[in-house]
Subunit: 178 residues, 2 copies
């Protein structure tokens, strides 16, 4: 069965970026000497799903940081919007969360990295997330783009592990109780 997995950082008040997308507040609190587990996480992932907002922020980054194929969920982007060198690495889809997961499963994928606030929210609402690794940076921003949003009913979680780092980052892993 195909499963969705979240690995994301937020401010202590739950924002993944400022309203304008800025994440300098996060990068300046990251200590590259600390292993926050991203490499191990991505090794266990087949394919990466993100929204248009996340893709637009990343599309100019070279070397292209993703070692797995990427699907961008967007109803407005077309293949012509993709930089030429990404054409083989990035696909576009305007399918629903359920549809895109069915499609990926039929292609043989098993573990999907679900990234970006709105995409994570829609996958949580659809019951398609198996677990989440959430890393909190020690700062209050007051406003910005929220990791979480409204849901139809409570989502109970199982806490699996929490680690803290000298940088002040605190990382917790939760499983979604099915």
């Amino acid at each position: 069965m195909i499963t969705g997995h979240v690995f994301i950082a937020t401010s202590l008040d739950g924002f993944i970026a400022r309203e304008d997308g800025d994440i300098a507040w996060l990068l300046e609190r990251d200590d590259p000497a600390e292993d926050h587990g991203y490499d191990a996480f991505i090794q266990g992932i087949d394919i990466i799903l993100m929204g248009r907002g996340s893709f637009e922020k990343m599309q100019a980054v070279r070397p292209w940081p993703y070692i797995r194929p990427v699907i961008v969920l967007s109803s407005s982007l077309t293949q012509d919007d993709l930089p030429e060198d990404l054409a083989a690495k990035v696909r576009l889809s305007d399918a629903s969360p359920e549809e895109v997961m069915r499609m990926l499963q039929s292609e043989g994928h098993r573990r999907v990295y679900v990234d970006g606030g709105l995409v994570i929210q829609s996958f949580l609402r659809a019951g398609l997330i198996a677990d989440m690794v959430i890393t909190r940076a020690p700062v209050l921003l007051g406003e910005g783009r929220s990791l979480f949003g409204s849901i139809a009913a409570d989502i109970p979680l199982l806490h699996e592990e929490t680690k803290s780092f000298p940088s002040g980052l605190v990382q917790s892993r939760y499983r979604i109780v099915a």
Copy 2:
């Protein structure tokens, strides 16, 4: 110098209560056999400050749970609104955060427990909080009363300690960087 201290629990998505004040989702995840540190915290506190919302939820609870004098910040409640047996234990004030802290300092108080979402927010904005112990319950609620709110500028924090409990509660202590 007088200082404000926060000790509060939230859902993973940052709510301290549902919109109607309900905290059953929190109580059902609390394991009374676990020591979450409230008793040790309150021993180091001189006086408790809370908002009208928090007081109205607690005012019928007997035995009265607070072992320290309580000040309720409200511009609408009057001394006549207090249950008779609380008249000596609870004071009302409509002073600003700065004014009430000055008043408490002049009375000889040193460490103030600041409780309730809106009161905590106003004390954070006024720079009157020294540290916060935040305990996260493993559940997403989607909506409710937020612990944090808008602020004029980022508030950097110093992470001091994080503990997790078999119940799934995760408790972090942060100092506000002055």
